[in-house]
């Protein structure tokens, strides 16, 4: 059980993600999580005023079921497979985070400065979470995919649009991490 309960190394996780992509193709579908966000809009009735969302969302039911599985997997992992929530970060990362106002990095799975209930209920904390989500959702649909659809499937398929998107992901991520995060906390 030790093998399961300790954090998994990259050379375990990467091949499993490749296997997941393979299985979804084998089952006649395609790995891509952010398209579910559009499905949510369609289910919510956005098709009534925007044609873009006027789709037969039932075709995407498999992907909603996949998401349901992902939630279940997160639950199984958290409650039965993970005795510790400590993330063994590079000590330099811990120091860098302390410098920008995020204390005790890695002692818990997520920073309280962003994800605690108290933060969520503050005006600033709520808007940070909301705006981060809006950027992810808008950006993913604009680019035509997220990490799964572009970085994993698209790059595997040697597609130029995916390479450009992934370069974009990194430009945005680096700007946020190096220049904007230090100003927020």
């Amino acid at each position: 059980m030790e093998f399961i309960t300790q954090p998994w190394a990259w050379y375990v996780a990467g091949p499993i993600i490749a296997l997941i992509m393979f299985l979804l193709f084998y089952f006649g579908e395609r790995f891509g999580v952010s398209s579910n966000l559009e499905t949510f809009c369609s289910i919510g009735g956005a098709g009534k005023f925007i044609d873009y969302f006027k789709i037969d969302w039932k075709q995407n039911s498999w992907n909603l079921i996949f998401v349901l599985g992902a939630i279940t997997g997160g639950f199984i992992s958290a409650y039965w497979l993970s005795p510790s929530d400590v993330v063994a970060l590079n000590p330099q990362t811990v120091q860098d985070l302390a410098d920008i106002g995020i204390a005790n990095a890695g002692a818990t799975y997520l920073p309280d400065e962003i994800f605690s209930i108290d933060t969520m209920l503050s005006l600033k904390g709520f808007f940070i979470l909301l705006i981060a989500g809006i950027m992810v959702g808008f950006g993913a649909r604009w680019a035509g995919g997220c990490t799964s659809g572009h970085a994993i499937v698209g790059l595997s398929n040697l597609e130029l649009p995916s390479l450009i998107s992934v370069i974009g992901f990194f430009i945005g991520g680096l700007v946020m991490t190096w220049f904007i995060l230090p100003l927020i906390f």
Binding site: W10, Y11, V12, A13, G14, P15, A18, I20, F22, L24, F25, E29, V33, L37, C41, Y52, S61, I65, F66, L68, A70, T72, G73, G74, S77, V87, Q92, D96, G106, I114, F115, I117, L129, I131, A132, G133, I134, V136, G137, G139, W142, A143, C146, T147, S148, A151, L155, S156, E159, P161, S162, S165, I167, F169, G172, G173, V175, M176, T177, L181
Partner: protein, 137 residues
């Protein structure tokens, strides 16, 4: 019943995302600071093995379980779409420390505040549908 296989693959996805700490905000920060090989190793090895899968699909050595050929449809082209959409996505990814897949896995972990991020992401997709004719692609 035809959906159960997607549920099971989803469970595997949720477990690997949490066990490899891909859903930890800190791991994303560490990646963008170039202070750990972890995330690069994960994405890199997945892509290398993914290329191998694509080779089998193209050579028709692997078909779907129903015997159909696997055709990987190309992504939509457009420099503005991919670059600007990508940059916006990256800004959100590094701030939330989660891309769409991990967001849902975090729900299973019991992180209540991630629901605000998911709501925002859905709103973002809605805004894209609303403004897509007014932005460059």
């Amino acid at each position: 019943m035809k959906y159960i296989k997607f549920f099971l693959v989803g469970i595997l996805f949720g477990i690997v995302m949490s066990k490899a700490e891909i859903i930890s905000w800190y791991r994303i920060y560490e990646m963008f600071k170039f202070q750990s090989f972890h995330m690069y190793g994960i994405i890199g090895s997945a892509v290398v093995l993914g290329m191998l899968s694509m080779y089998f699909f193209r050579k028709k050595m692997v078909k779907t379980f129903e015997g159909n050929e696997i055709h990987v449809a190309p992504k939509k082209r457009g420099l503005y779409r991919n670059l600007l959409g990508g940059i916006l996505f990256g800004l959100g990814w590094a701030l939330a420390g989660a891309c769409p897949g991990p967001m849902f896995v975090l729900v299973g972990k019991g992180v209540v505040s991630i629901l605000v991020v998911i709501f925002g992401a859905t709103l973002g997709a809605f805004f894209y549908g609303l403004f897509k004719d007014k932005i460059p692609h």
